[in-house]
């Protein structure tokens, strides 16, 4: 019984983890059809921002929930202005240029922080579940992921900003003719996506520790969640997070975590072959 609870908790945690690291990428892809291959490094930068702030004596919750999103959002704004905005509509070129941004960021972080691992202790202690020791911080991550997805949904569904964003996403021309500059919408969307990546990085930093090359661990997972989910931001991210999170953890418990990840990647290929437009290209077409 305890074991079942542990497995269930781990599955929920993995789903939350995937949703959290994918949200930023999903917004940018869903709204602008831009795939940001530097996404993993955005997450990594958020982590570094949190760890550096925490080491400087700032409250760690403030660091991860406020400073990291701000720092990475600002960086995202710069990247959008300098690189991405010249490449809208050229999907493959955008992927290549943002891959360049990713390499650049790895190099810069190595230069500033050195090529060594940094970490902060998790601010929430573990707890006992039957005979199993569980990480209490995982519950915090589940809560943050839930709030993020919920907040995103409310924002897109019920506010004027969300309406404009969804309008520009459906038809940039019509949005423009109604007086909303799609370029500005794109700019702020990219910034918001970057800020969300920063949030994810900050929240996850105490769990994993960081290296300049840590971004690589996130990009593949975020990438397959978003692409498999399809262009619909919330429904796509949620549905593919659930599928991949469940598969990953079930296989991990049955064998090793490596095989869990391999199963997830292999499943992504199969799903993409069957549904080239992503899950939401076939189901939940009219959701936000």
């Amino acid at each position: 019984m305890d074991y079942a609870a542990v497995v269930a908790l781990e599955i929920v945690y993995m789903i939350a983890f995937l949703a959290l690291i994918s949200a930023g990428l999903a917004i940018v892809f869903g709204m602008m059809r831009v795939i940001n291959l530097a996404h993993g490094e955005f997450v990594m930068l958020g982590g570094y921002a949190t760890i550096a702030s925490a080491k400087a004596g700032i409250n760690i919750y403030f660091a991860m929930l406020v400073i990291s999103p701000l720092v990475v959002g600002l960086w995202g704004l710069i990247v959008e202005r300098v690189v991405v905005r010249h490449l809208y509509g050229r999907m493959v070129d955008t992927m290549l240029a943002t891959w360049g941004v990713s390499l650049l960021m790895v190099g810069l972080v190595k230069l500033v922080f050195g090529n060594t691992a940094v970490s902060v202790p998790a601010p929430i202690p573990g707890y006992q579940l039957g005979s199993f020791q569980m990480g209490g911080y995982n519950l915090f991550i589940i809560a943050v992921a839930t709030l993020t997805v919920l907040g995103l949904w409310l924002l897109l569904r019920y506010t004027r900003v969300g309406l404009i964003a969804r309008g520009a996403m459906q038809s940039a021309d019509v949005a423009a003719s109604l007086g909303y500059n799609p370029k500005l919408v794109y700019m702020w969307t990219f910034t918001a996506g970057a800020a969300l990546s920063g949030l994810a990085g900050g929240v996850l930093a105490p769990l994993t520790g960081l290296l300049p090359s840590s971004g690589g661990a996130y990009i593949a997972k975020a990438f397959i969640v978003v692409i498999t989910g399809g262009a619909t931001v919330i429904a796509g991210t949620l549905s593919s997070s659930v599928i991949f999170g469940t598969i990953n953890q079930l296989v991990s418990f049955g064998s090793t975590p490596v095989f869990g990840e391999l199963a997830m990647l292999a499943l992504a290929i199969v799903l993409l072959r069957l549904m080239p437009q992503g899950i939401t290209g076939r189901f939940f077409r009219n959701s936000a």
Partner: protein
Amino acid sequence: MNDEFKAAGRMRWGWFIAFALVLVLLPLVSETSTPTLLAIWALFALSLGLMWGYAGILSFGHAAYFGLGAYTYAIGSINLGESTAPLLLAILLPAFVAAVIGAMMFYGRISDVYMGVITLVITLILFKFMSATAGDAYRIGDARLGGFNGIPAFPILNVPGDASLTIYGLPYYYFVVVCLLGCYLLARWVLASGFGRVLLCIRENEARAELLGYNAAAYKTAIFALTAAMAGLAGCLFANWAEIVTPAVFGLGQSVEVIIWVIAGGLGSLAGPMIGALVLGMLKLLLGEQTLIDNSLVLGVILILVVLLLPRGIFGALTTWRTRRERGGARIESGAGSRRRRRTPRAEAS
């Protein structure tokens, strides 16, 4: 359009012979280890350049076939004790794997972005799997896969038929050069053939090629397998050069590096990717000797600048400039592999 079809099939023998002479005479003035590695990288870049530049297929994980070639050779040579069959296997196995994956993607009509994901994910699968194969449980025949540490100490290339006559040092350099030049000639021949012309036609307008009766998926699968075979050969040569294979051959770094070589050198030519690999490979080796500036920083900046400013690469930009000068400043319309045009096929034939 006509010019491009001619250009794709045209062979500049003068340049080729000059290039070959430089490669052959290089050992007179330099040691051979670094030039060998650079020539191997050039071969790897050539394979991706052929596929991306002429068939319009971008694989984000071309390192998968490079790595498969390296691992196949290492495992094969440990088990067989000689190198001829493993060398052939290292070419055939990547080609076979690529044919299966390519058929899955091209017959499934998966668009270029999703193809990017799939090719990337396949590399990651191989990387993660190979990194996790430490321990005695993971062995193929006599070869232990060795996890993150890879496979050291396998027999290097030998003269066919005599396992004691190994090829290394200067003879190995010449062997690599012959492979590189041979693959270049093969690529030229492919492009000059009817097959190559159909490939260009598919790149320019797939729907029209299919309406003319060509099976685009079959052609793309074939070029995917052919270039994977070249990448496999490059991987096998790399394994022999390094005398160890580690999962790093499957790494994302390897995949992105070859993309940068090709795009910086010039998309839509064969010389461009090779020159890109030689120059940037050299740069990487030089940067590796100091610790102030990181290699990935430089590569990242190069990639961003090339995509933004020189979408046809340095070699492509030079060619354009020269052609324009030859034509007395007349604006040229049809250059090799203008990528922006590829995505929006023109309505009228020219």
